[in-house]
Symmetry: C2
Subunit: 194 residues, 2 copies
DNA sequence: CGGATATGTACACGGTCGTTTACCTAGGAC
DNA sequence: GTCCTAGGTAAACGACCGTGTACATATCCG
């Protein structure tokens, strides 16, 4: 029986489903971490957004840092390496521009860079899951150096677009920067070839 | 008389010098904001590093946000616009590489990007004090677009060097990226010229 | 010299946060 | 049907933080 006076009744009883609950927390964390960063995301906020009791965050992920790490582990950037090499620039740019939450993971890491532990987790993720595979995918000559250049370009673009947004990055000028980004990206991919 | 038992004596009495105190707080704030970011820098920390009572931060700057803004206002990037155009790339890169705290201001803003109020102050500063003057200095064609490109390049480099440091950015590879950065920067400055 | 005031100090308030504890109960095992 | 445990809830703890207040005193002006 659902009573309107909360002082006379217990909560209606949430459906019990561990996987669903865990997934809901993870999804909420992804959203909040990538918009507010680690420090400004509270476990109570995450729980509220997930529609879940806040103590469950501790139960499922051990700690806030554990939740952050789990959010990182969930990421999968391997689709990037399925793109055609000769169209990498345009395709990559299109992905970032057209899917509104594509920059999420990077924003999450940048916004959390001030927290030592979250920062360490981010650096490790970027290194192991992005840069090393990217360098391998680029191949010789100097795959690592070219991976670093790509990282610089894209970190810079994301930073200047979402984090400390340049007012200049709108309309026709955004389109111009977009073409520049495509060309630079493609040039790095093609470097040393033919 | 300096007593070893603090319960039996008052503090020795600090020299009174408003300007010096204010400057000490500002210097400490610059250091901490640019290494830990806004959220992870406490007013007590700043005061301790400055060797000053923590209530003085409030007295001199009103609030923590006021302190952050004052730290921003102190910055002066006009020397950048004194550089020779045809050597802008190499000189600019040299400044960043050789003076160890040159990236400080940008690091401070990026690390504080998660705090709405500090973020707003940073964006306003970047716009008014950096991008608009830079666009004007670059001149036609499309000074604003080229300023945006420079911003992307340098934001990206700083991010990948200091914030989420790429392990690949060391030794010979760092030198290679450095040359690339010089060339790209110079190309943007020269764009459309002769 | 004797106040007046700018400067510095000590401390507590209210709030938020991550985490932990103690308890409840839905729902499957038998 | 009964137990038992995984899943969920409520509340509190201790720590930290930004800020405000009440008080002390060095320094300067008359």
């Amino acid at each position: 029986m659902y009573i309107s006076d909360p002082s006379e009744t217990k909560r209606p009883a949430r459906q019990r489903d561990a996987e669903r609950t865990r997934a809901a927390i993870l999804a909420a964390a992804r959203t909040l971490f990538s918009t507010r960063g680690y420090a400004h995301t509270g476990v109570r906020e995450v729980a509220d957004l997930a529609g879940v009791n806040s103590a469950l965050v501790g139960r499922y992920f051990g700690s806030k840092l554990g939740l952050f790490r789990a959010t990182l582990e969930e990421l999968d950037i391997t689709p990037m390496f399925q793109l055609e090499r000769h169209r990498f620039g345009v395709t990559m740019v299109a992905v970032f521009f057209d899917s509104p939450d594509a920059p999420g993971p990077l924003a999450m890491m940048l916004l959390s860079a001030a927290d030592p532990e979250a920062h360490a987790a981010s650096v490790e993720f970027l290194h192991k899951k992005v840069l090393i595979p990217l360098a391998r995918w680029l191949g010789p000559p100097d795959g690592e150096g070219r991976a670093a250049k790509l990282s610089i370009l894209w970190n810079g673009f994301l930073t200047s677009w979402k984090l400390l947004p340049l007012p200049a990055l709108t309309g026709a000028r955004l389109a111009s920067v977009r073409r520049w980004l495509e060309a630079e990206t493609q040039a790095i991919v093609d470097e040393g070839k033919a």
